[in-house]
């Protein structure tokens, strides 16, 4: 014997109404990355493999440093949102929640560490 009405049982089982925001975030970050990624590939690629002193001097310059910082931040936000959709597609229940929390923490940790390194190199 069910004491709830059918309508009451259905409430809250639909979409969370957040999908468009997520989609728009991916659109904006992908458009930004379409510009940032080539810039980063050719600035970072040029200096990778160079000696320590050259690397430190290179990332003391504004352009390579700002490109690297923006690529890290936007790239990891894009990763965080994209990886979350993958987790939502392939897992469920507690595993899903734990993996989403882990991916978000990893993304922000990598972002913070990378920015710390870049700021310290630049100053």
């Amino acid at each position: 014997m069910a004491f709830l009405t059918d309508r009451k049982r259905a409430v809250g089982l639909g979409s969370a109404k957040k999908g468009t925001g997520h989609f728009w975030n991916m659109t904006v970050s992908s458009a930004a990355l379409a510009i940032l990624v080539p810039l980063f590939v050719f600035t970072f690629g040029r200096i990778l493999g160079a000696p320590y002193e050259e690397v430190v001097a290179y990332y003391g310059r504004p352009f390579p440093a700002v490109v690297a910082a923006l690529t890290l931040v936007v790239g990891l936000v894009h990763f965080k949102n994209g990886a979350q959709v993958m987790i939502e597609d392939y897992t469920g229940g507690l595993t899903r929640k734990a993996l989403i929390v882990a991916v978000i923490c990893l993304s922000y940790a990598a972002m913070a560490a990378g920015l710390f390194g870049l700021v310290r190199l630049a100053l």
């Binding site: 059918d6 458009a31 990624v37 590939v41 050719f42 690629g45 710390f116 390194g117």
Partner: protein, 129 residues
Amino acid sequence: MPDVNRGNRPLSPFMLGQYYRFQLTSVTSILTRITGNAMIVAALLIVWWFVAAATSPQAFAAADGFITSWFGDLVMALSLLGLWYHFLAGLRHLYWDTGRGLQIEVAERLGIACLVGSVVLTLLTLLVI
């Protein structure tokens, strides 16, 4: 609704191979996801490299030594291929989002363009840098 099946529903990849035949559009789609998520490895290596460069010459030597070793080179080269693939596939998505290019022949041609283009861009990048 006590008759509704909750929590016992099949999860996404269950139909692959058994009920679903692979085709160019679906393979290029799943490759976008694989390359996008696999790039976290290269991202973490690059973050390590930056933090090491900011820390000390010794720390930098360790990170740089790993990334420029044959194994590091392999990881970075494959990530570069993945990056260019994901880049082109992302542009394809932005194009699709405008409502264009959704006819099957066009979508398949764009998929081939992503596959071939990523290899070409990777080789060009490796030549330049």
